[in-house]
């Protein structure tokens, strides 16, 4: 690696770290004020646990030598003795690693107790995240340590499946086990709207996500190439545009309002959908794919909320799970030489579908089982009166906006 390669990696790492803030702000803004502190502290705690877990075990599990490609050996990571030249890349991988369990906060907001969240994060960092990284990105550091999905030919360059589907599946599991927020569904089983308390905060979060995404895509480059980086930025920008309009327009037809949360979800959907194969989306394709993702997230959110009756306050299941899965199929359609539309037949798309399903099932099932266990042993939700007064007061002993008069009828 040249100096410029590693400087680029440092930049991408910083940018991916900032995505944590981006997700957190996006989620916080569209949920209620009385658990904003809880969301912040959970995010910081997730990162704290993740850093320790990564260096203690996760890094080895994910990127250590492994013949079978199911998990690596954590032998060397305990002493934090990495080859100096690889440290920048390792930090980049850490930044992606930390991101995964932050995303499901969008579905878990408002009701899960803090200590349970710590256990959730630890479980994700010790099992789900490192193994899914291993399976698809196992050779990121050591070329001989490839994972089994990778060997199969599963393609997922920047994590449509490894990051987003996995996060979406964990979000689904958590929301199912926790159940909806009090008051979300009436006696008639119809959803009640619970408007977000600070949309500008979500807007700021979205700026961070848009700004960081090109670097997120770029960090997976083997070395710095100006042309590639610029091309990846272009893909991200076009996809975000597509997602914006792809969600805004159907939302307008449905409600005759220009719906900001849907539009923001659409932007994010556009960014998510290009993650699997940004380099095979030339010309205007990212715009079209992004529009599809935007429309998908619009439908997905309504489906999850009204038909499936799952409470997903910030839409994490739809944006990351559903759209991520769509994105993970794209290499099977568009990858040059292998994709369906690029003369590759059905082979690749089947691999993509199977690999995505494997990752989704693994993440969902293990997280579901783990949370059921916690629920049986300790309960995972705050008591009703605590939830109604807000986790901030009950678990954190203060309010996010002390002194501000807030009247919230839910």
């Amino acid at each position: 690696m040249t100096a410029i390669d590693s400087m680029y990696l440092l930049l991408t790492t910083a940018a991916v770290f900032s995505l944590q803030a981006g997700f957190l702000l996006s989620i916080t803004g569209v949920t209620r004020a009385h658990h904003a502190i809880a969301l912040f502290l959970k995010t910081f705690a997730t990162a704290g646990i993740g850093v320790i877990a990564f260096f203690a075990i996760g890094y080895g599990l994910a990127f250590g030598p492994s013949a079978h490609g199911v998990f690596g050996t954590p032998h060397f990571s305990l002493r934090l003795a990495f080859p100096e030249s690889q440290l920048p890349r390792i930090l980049f991988l850490l930044s992606v690693f930390l991101l995964v369990p932050v995303i499901p906060l969008g579905a878990m907001a408002g009701r899960i107790r803090f200590p349970i969240h710590l256990a959730y994060a630890a479980f994700a960092f010790l099992l789900i995240v490192p193994l899914s990284f291993k399976w698809v990105w196992g050779s990121a550091i050591d070329p001989l340590a490839a994972g089994w999905l990778q060997k199969w030919g599963f393609l997922d360059r920047s994590g449509a499946a490894v990051v987003h589907v996995v996060a979406g599946a964990m979000a689904l599991a958590a929301s199912l086990v926790a159940g909806p927020r009090l008051g979300k569904y009436g006696a008639d089983r119809k959803p009640r709207a619970m408007p977000g308390h600070h949309l500008p905060l979500s807007g700021i979060g979205m700026f961070l996500l848009i700004g960081g995404w090109p670097f997120f895509l770029g960090g997976f480059e083997p070395s710095f190439s100006a042309a590639h980086s610029a091309q990846l930025a272009l893909v991200a920008i076009l996809a975000a545009c597509g997602g914006f309009f792809g969600a805004l327009i159907p939302a307008w037809f449905a409600t005759r309002k220009f719906d900001a949360p849907f539009a923001l979800n659409g932007i994010l959907a556009g960014l998510v959908v290009v993650c699997a194969c940004p380099e095979s989306l030339g010309g205007w394709r990212p715009l079209l794919v992004g529009m599809g993702a935007g429309a998908l997230v619009f439908g997905g959110i309504l489906f999850i909320e009204m038909v499936a009756r799952i409470d997903d306050p910030a839409g994490a299941i739809s944006v990351h799970g559903i759209v991520g899965a769509f994105g993970a199929l794209l290499p099977g359609i568009l990858h040059p030489g292998a994709g369906l539309l690029r003369g590759g037949g059905f082979h690749q798309i089947l691999i993509q579908a199977a690999g995505t399903a494997v990752l989704a099932l693994f993440a969902f099932a293990s997280m579901w089982a783990f949370l059921r266990l916690l629920k049986a042993l300790f309960g995972i939700r705050a008591r009703p009166v605590e939830e109604l007064r807000g986790l901030d007061l009950s678990e954190h002993g203060m309010e996010a906006y002390s002194g501000f008069q807030i009247f919230d009828q839910h």
Partner: protein, 113 residues
């Protein structure tokens, strides 16, 4: 002396204040409130989800006046707040037994105006 308490639409406050000034009522207190009146069972479409809207934003206006000012005050509020639509609001008149101006300690009808 009477306390006249009115719940009106927030965007009509300026109009109501103007009408009150015209009849020389210049003292009042205003509070944020939420109310349901005739719109009790009203529902609204929020992001494609039908939502039972229960409590709408209102402005609560408290005006204390001497007895002979009551009718003029009520009429002024009605003039300023009426649009003819549901939600226009409601006015309550309640008795005041005593009133003090803190600065001077004045009492009764002198203190109120």
């Amino acid at each position: 002396m009477k306390m006249i308490t009115a719940y009106i639409q927030p965007e009509k406050l300026d109009d109501v204040k103007r009408e009150l000034f015209l009849v020389d009522v210049r003292k009042m207190s205003v509070t944020n409130a939420h109310g349901c009146g005739q719109q009790g069972g009203y529902t609204e479409n929020y992001r494609g989800v039908m939502q039972e809207v229960r409590l709408l934003k209102k402005i609560r206006l408290d005006v204390a006046v001497n007895d002979h000012f009551v009718q003029a005050t009520v009429d002024a509020i009605i003039r300023g707040a009426r649009t003819g639509n549901i939600g226009d609001g409601k006015i309550f008149v309640m008795p005041i037994e005593q009133c003090y101006r803190i600065r001077t300690g004045e009492q009764g009808g002198d203190a109120i105006g």
